[in-house]
Amino acid sequence: MMQSTIPTPQTPWATSIQQRLNTAGLILLGAVLAGVAVKTTGLSGKLGFAVSFFVIASLLIFIQQLRLRDLAAAKDSLLSSFASLAIILTLIPIISIVATVVVKGYKGIHFGMFTNDMTMASVNDPVTAGGLLHALVGTIMMVGVALLISFPIGLLTALYLTEIRGNLARPIKFLVQAMSGVPSIVAGLFILSILIIPVTQELTGLMGSLALSILMIPTIARTAEEMLRLIPNELREAGVALGATQWRTVSGVVVPAARSGLVTAVILGIARIIGETAPLLLVSGGADALNFNPASGPMGSLPYYIWKAFLTGGTEEAYSRAWGGMLILLIFIVLLFSLARYLSGRKVA
C-alpha cells in the first residue's frame, strides 16, 4: 500500500484577489479621472460623468489586459465592459421603478386597506380611510377567470400547431402572431360592441375576463408552442411505439415533459394582462364596492384603483393611495410568479 496525502483542492483558473483588487483600482481610477474630466472639459452633469467614466474605465482595463497578456485578451475585456454596460442599462430602469414604487408606496400601505373597499371613502380622504380589498378581489377574479378561459384554448392551439400539424397550421400561426399585437383597447371595444351593447347591456367582471382573454390567448399559445417544439421527437416516438394513441402520448408524455415551459407560458400570459386598465374601463367598469360575482355588476381592479386615485384625486393623499396600490400590485405579481416557478420546478429534474 502506498502512503499518499490528499492535496488541498485548488482553483488555479479563478481570478485571484490581487487581480480583482487591480481591476477595482482601475475602475476607481476611471471614476476619479471621469470626475476630473467633467470638471475641466466641456462635459458636464451626470450623463457626462457616466459616459466618460465608462470610456475611461474600459480603456484602462483594455490597456491593463494588453500589457499583462495580449491583444486578444484585451479585446475580450472590451466585450466584457460592453456586456457590463448593457446589464447596468437594463437594470437602471427596473431598479428605479421598483425603488420609486417602494419609496412612494409604503406611505399608502396600512392594514385596513385589505379589509375595506372604497364605498365609504373618496380618493381624497386620508389613506387610512377605505381600502383596496375590492380591487384586489376584482383583479384576482378577472385574471383567474381569464386564465381559466385562455390556458385551455392557448394550449390546445399550441398542440394543434405542434402535434396535429393540420393544414390550417400556417394560417393559424400567422393569425396568432397578428393577434398578439392587438392593442388592448381594441380587445375592450370588441367585447363592448359584440357582447355588451347588443346582448348583456351590463358591465361585469366576466366581460373584463373575456376582453383580457383576447389578449392572453395569443401569448399563451405562442409561448406554449415554442415550449412544445423543444420536446424532442424521440419522446413522441417512444410513446407511440409503446402502443399509446396520439392523445395519450401528448397528455402522458409530451405535456408533462413541457410542464415548466407551460408554466412560463402562463406567467407571460398573466404578465401581459395583469396591469391592463383600458379594456377594463370599457367592459367591467370600475367599482368601488366589493363584488364577488363576475357575472353581475361592475368589478374593480388594481389598475383601475390606481388610475382613479391618480386621475380623479388631486391631493397628496390620493397620490399616496395610488402609489400604495402600485406597490400592492407589484408585490402581488412577484408572489404569483414565485409561486408559479416553485410549482413548476418542484418535480421535474
Binding site: G239, V240, R248, A257, V348
Partner: protein, 296 residues
C-alpha cells in the same frame, strides 16, 4: 482494484469483444449456441412480403421479403442509408409516423397483415415493441414510472405492478443497479442504463416481437455487452429484430442476418442466411465485400 481482481463478467466480455477479423466473426457466429425457433412462444413470428417504402417521391426501400421465425434473433446489417432502419420501422407501423411516408407490400404478424384496413395500429405496436437508437426515457417520470409507463399510456390494467416492475428490470439487466432508486428520475442514469431502462419499458407491455434500432450505437463497450446479454436472455421468450452497424454484434447475438444495400437507388435486401453462413460463405459477392470490410 488491480486487473486480476476484475470480475469474471469483464473477462468474459473481453473474450467476446476480441473478434475483429472477418474469419473470427464467422467463428464467433458459428460458436454461438443456436436457438430452436418457436419454443415457449405465443405467436408464430413475423413475415414481410414485397415491402417497398417511400418518403415523398423518394423510393427508399424496394421489394423486401423476409421471415422472422418466432424465438429467433435476426440482425439487419448494411451501410448507412441502405433502408434497414426504414424497413425496421415498417414492422411496427412506426414508418407512418413520418408525415411524407408511403408503403407497399404486406407485413404479416401471426399471419395477419398489420396494414390491413381496420387494423388498430396501437394494438400492433403493443405486440411489436421498439427500442430506439438514442435512449429516450420519459423525463417527467421516475425510473419506476418509466418502466410501467406503457401500461398507463396504452391503458392496460395490470394487478401486480410491483412484480411486473421487478421482472422487467431483471430481464433488462438493470434491477440490481436501480432497485434502491426507483423514485429517481431516469435522466440521472448513465447512457447504457437509460437504454436498458428503455428496454425494460418496452418489455412491460409484453410484446411478442422486439425491434431494436441500433440500440448500442451510442453506448460504451461495457454497456453494449450488458445489452447483448439482455438480448440473448430475451430471445428465449420473444422474436427480436436488431439493426446494427457493428458486425461483431451481429455475429455475437443473431441467428440470422440480412444484408441490405443501396446503390444510390432504393435499398434492397441482398442476402439473408443463418448468421454463421453470412460471415463464412456468403452467396453474394457484395455481401462478402461488406462483411470482409472491403467497403462500407
Amino acid at each position: 482494484m488491480t486487473p486480476t481482481e476484475s470480475s469474471s463478467n469483464e473477462n468474459n466480455m473481453e473474450k467476446k469483444m476480441q473478434a475483429t477479423t472477418p474469419s473470427s466473426l464467422a467463428s464467433v457466429a458459428s460458436n454461438r449456441q443456436q436457438r430452436v425457433p418457436g419454443t415457449n412462444l405465443l405467436g408464430t413470428g413475423l413475415e414481410t412480403r414485397g415491402v417497398h417504402a417511400w418518403f415523398g417521391k423518394k423510393h427508399v426501400l424496394s421489394d423486401v421479403s423476409l421471415d422472422f421465425a418466432a424465438g429467433t434473433v435476426t440482425a439487419l446489417i448494411g451501410p448507412s442509408g441502405c433502408g434497414k432502419s426504414t424497413y425496421l420501422r415498417t414492422l411496427n407501423r412506426m414508418h407512418e409516423f413520418i408525415p411524407t411516408a408511403a408503403l407497399a407490400g404486406e407485413v404479416l404478424l401471426d399471419g395477419q397483415d398489420i396494414y390491413a384496413p381496420g387494423t388498430d395500429v396501437t394494438k400492433i405496436r403493443l405486440k411489436v415493441g421498439m427500442v430506439f437508437q438514442k435512449p429516450n426515457p420519459f423525463p417527467s417520470m421516475t425510473i419506476g414510472e418509466n418502466v410501467l409507463s406503457g401500461l398507463k399510456l396504452a391503458q392496460l390494467k395490470k394487478s401486480n405492478t410491483d412484480e411486473l416492475l421487478e421482472s422487467c428490470l431483471v430481464r433488462a439487466g438493470l434491477w440490481s443497479e436501480v432497485k434502491d432508486r426507483l423514485g429517481e428520475h431516469g435522466g440521472a442514469l448513465s447512457g447504457g442504463q437509460q437504454q436498458r431502462l428503455c428496454i425494460a419499458r418496452s418489455l412491460a407491455v409484453e410484446p411478442q416481437v422486439l425491434l431494436m434500432d441500433e440500440p448500442c450505437s451510442a453506448l460504451d463497450p461495457g454497456s453494449t455487452f450488458r445489452i447483448e446479454e439482455t438480448i440473448s436472455e430475451l430471445a428465449k421468450s420473444m422474436t427480436i429484430v436488431i439493426v446494427t452497424h457493428n458486425m461483431q454484434q451481429a455475429a455475437r447475438v443473431s441467428d440470422y442476418t440480412a444484408f441490405f444495400l443501396s446503390d444510390g437507388g432504393p435499398g434492397v435486401m441482398v442476402e439473408t442466411a443463418p448468421t454463421s453462413k453470412i460471415f463464412s460463405s456468403p452467396t453474394d459477392k457484395r455481401t462478402e465485400d461488406y462483411v470482409t470490410g472491403r467497403f462500407g
